[in-house]
Structure formats: structure tokens, C-alpha cells
């Protein structure tokens, strides 16, 4: 790694720096806490001990936890393909002959970053938290409870996931059905799903 890469502003490089900082802060904090624990009990309620705890128990660990969250939430967005149970869907994404919406979006790079996460999350704070809670549930199933034979979504993909990108696009607005006075309210409200007319986003069954 040359000097330019070390200080580049690329997100992955920033995350590496944040991870390193988190590890350093954690080790310093652990050292301070260990020092506190090895002192005699009478010293532990003295003012120097309280200052030490302020730094080693409160400030540094809090910063470490914050960095752990930032780095973790960033990395988890690209971890969908790490579980083998997702292999059929990942294979479909990369299949040049596939006609599914997910494959087209992926191969044409219509979603440049975090292609899985962009669709499989809501928008706004509540949606992102729900997506993260779902991720925890997936890890639970993968490592503890077991993965069901057939994987299917708990509820249909919200139409607003598609509309978030497409609603104001010229290519969307020039389609007559999208702006039809009768159909447009049904589309915008989610009553009429995009997949009633458009291709399936993913293959229906495991390949």
C-alpha cells in the first residue's frame, strides 16, 4: 500500500482508519481499566481514580462503541453474499442470461453501491433500523435456528422502494400507464405492485 492509498478519501480506506482507531482506543481503555482493577480498593474512590475512570471507562469506550457501530453498519451492507444460503440468488445476479430485475440492475450497475441493501431496506431512520433488525434475524436463523427450505419475504416488497429511484425519472414518466389518472394513485399508494406488470425481481425458486 503506497502513501496515496493510505490517505485517500475512499470510503473503504476511511473505514480502515476508523477500525484501527477503534482498536487502539479499546486497547488503551482496557489498559486503563486493568490498571484501575489492580490498584488497592482504597485508591479506587480517590479523585485520580475517578478521573481515570472518566477517560478509560466513559470517554474512550463510548468512542470505541460508536466507531464499532459506524464500521459495522457500513460493512454489513455488503455482507449479503457472505452466507452460502444466498448462492442461488447471487448466481442469478451474475448470470448474463437472467431477465430478473435484480440481475438487470446489478449487471448494468443501475445501483452503483450496496445493490442488495438499497432495495431490501426502507428509507429513513425507521426503515433502516427495520432492515438491520431483519439482518440480525437472518444471522439468528443462519447460525442457530436453521434456514427454512423455502426462503420467501415476510411481506411483498414495498412499491416505494422502486419509486424512490424511478418516480421522477423521465423514462418512468413517459410510460402512459404510470401517469394514467386511474392507475397512478394505485401505484403510488402501493395498491398496484410494480411486479404485476414487470419481471420478477428474483428467481421464484432456488436453482
Amino acid at each position: 500500500m503506497n502513501g496515496d492509498d493510505l490517505f485517500s478519501g475512499e470510503l473503504e480506506n476511511v473505514m480502515r482508519w476508523l477500525s484501527t482507531a477503534g482498536i487502539v482506543f479499546a486497547l488503551i481503555s482496557a489498559g486503563l481499566i486493568a490498571f484501575f482493577l489492580t490498584r488497592r480498593p482504597g485508591w479506587r474512590m480517590t479523585p485520580p481514580a475517578k478521573w481515570l475512570l472518566l477517560v478509560g471507562f466513559f470517554l474512550l469506550p463510548s468512542t470505541t462503541m460508536l466507531l464499532g457501530n459506524v464500521v459495522g453498519f457500513h460493512r454489513v451492507k455488503t455482507s449479503c453474499a457472505e452466507c452460502h444460503v444466498m448462492d442461488p440468488w447471487i448466481s442469478d445476479l451474475r448470470d448474463p442470461k437472467s431477465t430478473t430485475l435484480a440481475a438487470k440492475h446489478y449487471q448494468n450497475r443501475w445501483i452503483n453501491e450496496n445493490p442488495c441493501y438499497t432495495c431490501h431496506t426502507g428509507y429513513g431512520l425507521a426503515g433502516n433500523l427495520e432492515a438491520k433488525w431483519s439482518g440480525l434475524r437472518h444471522v439468528w436463523h443462519y447460525y442457530v435456528a436453521g434456514v427454512p427450505e423455502e426462503i420467501k419475504m415476510k411481506r411483498p416488497l414495498p412499491v416505494k422502494t422502486c419509486l424512490h429511484c424511478h418516480a421522477q425519472a423521465a423514462s418512468y414518466l413517459k410510460i402512459e400507464q404510470h401517469v394514467d389518472p386511474e392507475m397512478e394513485p394505485q401505484i403510488l399508494s402501493g395498491e398496484l405492485s410494480c411486479f404485476e406488470c414487470h419481471a420478477s425481481p428474483h428467481p421464484r425458486k432456488n436453482r
Binding site: 462503541m65 457501530n69 459495522g72
Partner: protein
């Protein structure tokens, strides 16, 4: 000659011992949280992230709760609060 000032109440010795014990427990919990966090940052994976979210942050949150309780007790003992 009688002493006009009332006898001072001696501070309870048991409370600082309890506070010290509570701080020790909080420190151990914090060390557990920090260990999981270091593992998560050094070897990232979905499982480590889950352990960080549940065990790491849970342990540290418990440590902070005990730490804040000790601070409150100490402030009340000194009649600041």
C-alpha cells in the same frame, strides 16, 4: 466543659465497599464489551457484528448503568444531590 457542637455522624463504611464492588463489576463488564468490539473490528463478519451488537454493546450498556448508579450514590452520600 461540655462540647457545644453535636457529635459528627461517622460515614458508613459499608457504602464505599459496595461502590468499589460495583465499580469492579462494571469494569469487568466493560472489558467484555471492549473485547468483543476489538474482535468485531479486527475480524469483521456478520456473526461478529451480531455479537458486537448484542453481547458487546449489551455488556457495555450494563457497565455504564452500574457506573452511573455508583456516581449517583456517591453524589448523594456527599449530599451534592
Amino acid at each position: 466543659m461540655s462540647d457545644p457542637s453535636p457529635p459528627e455522624a461517622k460515614p458508613a463504611p459499608a457504602e464505599p465497599r459496595r461502590s468499589i464492588l460495583a465499580l469492579t463489576i462494571a469494569c469487568v463488564l466493560a472489558l467484555v464489551g471492549l473485547a468483543v468490539t476489538v474482535l468485531h473490528l479486527a475480524w469483521p463478519s456478520p456473526l461478529m457484528f451480531t455479537l458486537f451488537m448484542v453481547v458487546g454493546q449489551g455488556s457495555f450498556a450494563a457497565a455504564m448503568a452500574v457506573y452511573l448508579a455508583v456516581i449517583l450514590v456517591d453524589l448523594r452520600r456527599r449530599k451534592v444531590l
